[in-house]
Symmetry: D2
């Protein structure tokens, strides 16, 4: 790979990406463009601008954007249509944010004439894969620079020395090492590393930052009603809201009731297992409610196929293949299944639990006439069941007859 | 179908199956054998013997058996190895009990020279299918009698008249109709029908019989440690127990902490949707813990394949195909995956939530050396990730290049 | 089911459906509407009109339609996009025609105010299921009449007596029983029953009607080039043609070269196994060519997902679930995968074999630069493979290390 | 990676692996052990011994083994139980040989105290991945050396110079470059590269080495009968044979009749597409016959599940994951399905085509009594089909009713 001339860096404004910024300038002598996105991580973005300017980035090379609506509308919601969970439990909060960041990095590179993009993910994790696969899938000629895989700043000490040598300000609380590493966006907060590295030990209370402890949540349940249109949440308690607003609101409900905590050991795409603490307050409520509205509006055949496809869909997102033809194929199937997934779900929130307790829809397939224990006025002829069972049983009978024949 | 001469009836001792017993005698003039199983439903069995005798069944034709250990060991545990849930949520508590009952019905029929078996399931539900597919799969020549699909006792009034006409005692509280219908065994209690038929309405509190309300559960979390061997639970808090004992214990923990409630609308195999309230206290804890022990002992490749196969496996059980070659094929794959799933999981129980908070095992695949944020002494070469990403990206790059080429 | 007042009958003009026509009139006293479709079965349709008139059908109640283009465009081609084969071998020629017939039956019923449709499929086969599921999926209130399941004309003798009693002319060659039963349309001809019922015996030569014997096919291979657009064939040897024309042409090529014969024992949806002889001359060439064009235009990820989904897709079509949400979901995924499947395939035809020998496309993903054994000018860095392998191996190494650790 | 001390090399005796042998000695100064396997590639092995001795390998370090029986019994046959084909067509002849070679390399390394193994696969292909993943899965501490990825002998000229410099004899016909590259074993011969690199061009006749041209095959068909036990071929025309003998015989039949040629463009695991010419004469007959015996002895439910799992199974083998837990899980499911797959298949061989024309078995599930068009003596009640269809249709009717309700 020839040396990059102009690099778009995914820049948070924090110490690590500031060091990367400076390292790119010094290592490659290249122009740096910064991209700082508000994905709902809950941090001010303007300080990042100031810091970038201070590090010598030209104003026209500083890109700061609020992408929360795009994030929820084009990434989070499509994924939730699938009820995607990785390894049975993880709601993919980090995974789903990476393709959007890469998309903007590549777009900004094309707009500014940059030939490379750079990110601050390490060489051990999944995020490097997600950033880079997405970038290459969107621009096959882009260069991707992953300083953590390249440089020799392999210890905290060396990093701080580099920072000092290049006049990068280091906040006092960053002098020592953080007890764990955090990633956050509107969908979730994840924590991993350091104090969490022994999976036998319960995570310390202070790791959780996004939700109150269930024990400290209100003693009285709260009920909310979530409205859906074609598989996406569109309202809370009857009030229509934009995608990002809904997720923000659900996060607040989830935070308050201690909902959406997960302590997981997972298999990384790069081959080892890692342990993470995830907090997905709003997403956890949303998944429950989405299952609820599907339960009355989606046919069994469609639902079972969807459930069967989900693990591969989740794996693709986890592994960084959002921009792949097979993810798009699965998305087409999933989206097709959501045409009638509209209606309202009533969810009970209480000390860590989000439970569907009611659901209704103009599109409901639930037919009290068919299912009732009472007289059904001919909606269903119980005698049909005899033939249904006989023909379903026929192949099993032939198998059993063979077994008896052979045994003799 | 020619008339049966001798019928083995799945007999609970309750009013409905007593009416069936008498109806079989009067309708077909056939000898009746009763089979009453203790599956952990929490009822005394001896009254069933008395009642059968009173209805004229010969003592040698009365079979009363405690099958709880067989139920958990040979049905519940194999199913939990798969983390089986139907439509994302239902733990299959009723479905998994039916094959065992059919197996014993067929065995008793063969032992007593009976040519038929009979059950008390209605023509609208899944249970008729499960009973009958299992019976036919085990004996292709057996006759199965499903009185609810045959007789004209189509109203409560007619049933009670029949009971009266045949001196079947009717308990006072059975004169009126039950507000909902219940099925129970060691794994779960399900409730459906009548007051539950409007899926928009929250289920009344009195429907729940197996668990305390989360709001009334202890205010302090409780921790337990569940030991596993090859995918099956073998101990609680270090004390070894038999399968049925473990599930009984876990049920008590779950009951106390309000764990395992589910309000679900599901797609029945016979075609309509129904709404059920399920309580699976011990099973819910067990599923969480099993996921926990798998997370450190099972390889990602195996786990993802298993997750992908699970929905079909669960559907097979739900639909009554326990005794089918495809269920056995999936079981072979699932059992193969459990060889190393041994170790201990620590679970926190609190107001409806069962959460894994720690897990350890001699078979752990978790390698702190590989995953650590600290120096890893060469366990992992971050530079490998570059090649890994490049080759995973290659096909995506070729796709992107094509897209650009065509657009031009 | 109340008696039908007006019935639309799938009418071939042959003896059996003529008897059904008359039986509907006499059994139900209902008005009969006939629908005769040209699906490419190779028979004149006008005689069916004459015969219907003779049997008392009013002219406005006789519908005769050429649906060949619709058949190929909307049913055959979408199915071939999936490379659908049932049980590894069967190209679904009968299965795919049934939904179209049912669709027109239901549409004509709605147009003529009929409350029922009728078909001539027996109670043992798959076709009854396919006709009826399609009809119910398109009109939930339609009645479907399947005379073969209802009447007592259970022997050849009784059928002929009924025909005679009702002045239905019986061709001389129909007096005796046919040695096997045939279904034909533009995609295939199937033969089953009677002389074919022993699956150990080779099918007699005279069963094959659609293709020459490979032994009698030309001794010289013939080459053709098939053009594709988005997964569908659009030209032969550079000449653009309509869907039905292409399939007709390919049938002629296949017939001449003895291509597309299949002797199969298959599992029917209704539970038993049956043996069929299928001739799918054009379809067999088309499948080969479609695989050929996909091989250079479709990404590996997309193709492998598609291959994995195919068996369920084929099963759905075979079982009669063309009009089901899960088939439509799969179709959405499959169609998505075909966006770039355009180009040309060269196929060699010779004595029963159709073999792809060349393929090219503007959308080709094949990159000689990457794959060449020669110098590749940096298109591919072989060193990347080392990292790729290391990270793919990591989890296997961790597994192997565990195995060694435990064994000690 | 520290330098290897003793390396076991997969050694063919040819020029390329002789250069590797010498390069390992000179580059690493390490002791070399050679392993030459008879996998049925059709070459004498003793010359390899002579050549190894001449290149300075100690006699006790030269391993020459006939592994044909193990190859067919433990690798080829288990794979054929699955009817495995990659991307719809490729019978995986190269892929399935690699794990066996790696297994012996690792075992010999352990027996001789070697710390590394080496292979002659290039950095662009799948074989490097297969060799190495298998080696690491069997010994996590083994070093694997892939000279083609490491050295600078990047042109034919340099290779020949190196050979000359090190007194490696170069056969005259190896002075020029081969027009394509070949891999062969008992299952297949593959050819790729050079003259085959344009996928639009038909492969020249001289590429095919293992089969006669169909045009030159006998003008008269030949019939053979293949016997199976539990899914594996055990006899031809009634004569019992060992696995390798059977495959050898089938190869001869296939060769003679021009069976098993394939011209394929396939997606490599390393990301690019390549074009190969495969000849799998015996395997092609075996696949056809195995499908044939399954068709009467395997239940539909089992078969459809197996068909659905097959593409992932084939992909795992193609990608080099033979020794992975997920392949073993799938194998457990597949092997379970083969318990009753015993019997005989009659296959017609003619000018490139192998066609099943008859099959019989004591385990047959085919029931003429059920399927017959004649009177079936009550084996099947056609009226059952009505109920079967009604309940299968119920969910489709509910969907259709919703659609009509909404449209209004």
């Amino acid at each position: 790979m020839s040396a990059p001339k102009k690099v778009v860096l995914a820049y948070s404004g924090g110490l690590d990406t500031s060091i990367i910024l400076k390292w790119l300038q010094t290592e490659y002598g290249c122009e740096v463009v910064t991209f700082t996105a508000d994905l709902g991580q809950g941090e001010e973005l303007e300080p990042a601008r100031k810091k970038a300017e201070m590090l010598g980035i030209k104003p026209e090379n500083i890109f700061i954007e609020d992408v929360r609506e795009e994030f929820v509308r084009d990434f989070v919601f499509p994924m939730f249509r699938a009820n995607a969970v990785y390894e049975g439990l993880y709601l993919l909060g980090t995974s789903i944010a990476r393709p959007l960041i890469s998309k903007r990095l590549v777009e900004i590179a094309e707009a500014t004439g940059a030939d490379a993009v750079a990110h601050g993910a390490t060489g051990k994790g999944n995020d490097q894969v997600r950033f880079e696969l997405a970038a290459y899938a969107l621009n096959p000629d882009i260069k991707v620079i992953a300083p953590w895989r390249e440089w020799d700043l392999t210890s905290r000490t060396k990093l701080l020395e580099f920072a000092e040598a290049h006049q990068i300000p280091v906040a006092k609380d960053k002098r020592g090492e953080a007890p764990f590493s955090v990633d956050a966006n509107l969908l979730h907060t994840s924590s991993e590393g350091k104090v969490l590295e022994d999976p036998a030990q319960e995570a310390p209370d202070y790791v959780y930052q996004r939700t109150v402890h269930p024990e400290e949540a209100p003693d009285t349940p709260e009920y909310i009603e979530i409205g859906f249109e074609k598989g996406d949440a569109v309202s809370i308690n009857g009030e229509a809201m934009s995608p990002a607003t809904i997720l923000t609101e659900l996060n607040e409900y989830g935070r308050k009731h201690g909902i959406g905590r997960l302590d997981l050991v997972e298999g990384r795409f790069v081959g080892m297992k890692s342990r993470g603490i995830y907090e997905t307050p709003g997403g956890t409520i949303l998944l429950e409610a989405h299952r609820g509205i599907e339960s009355i509006t989606m046919d069994r055949g469609a639902m079972h196929l969807k459930d069967q496809l989900m693990p591969q869909y989740a794996e693709l997102i986890y592994n960084g293949f959002w921009y792949s033809p097979e993810r798009e194929m699965l998305q087409a199937a999933i989206d097709k299944s959501q045409e009638f997934v509209s209606g309202t779900v009533r969810v009970k929130l209480y000390k860590g639990l989000a439970s569907t307790v009611g659901r209704w829809s103009d599109n409901s397939l639930y037919s009290e006439a068919h299912v009732t224990f009472e007289e059904d006025a001919g909606a269903y002829d119980q005698k049909d069941a005899a033939g249904f069972i006989q023909l379903n049983a026929l192949r099993l009978k032939l198998l059993a007859a063979r077994e008896r024949r052979i045994k003799k």
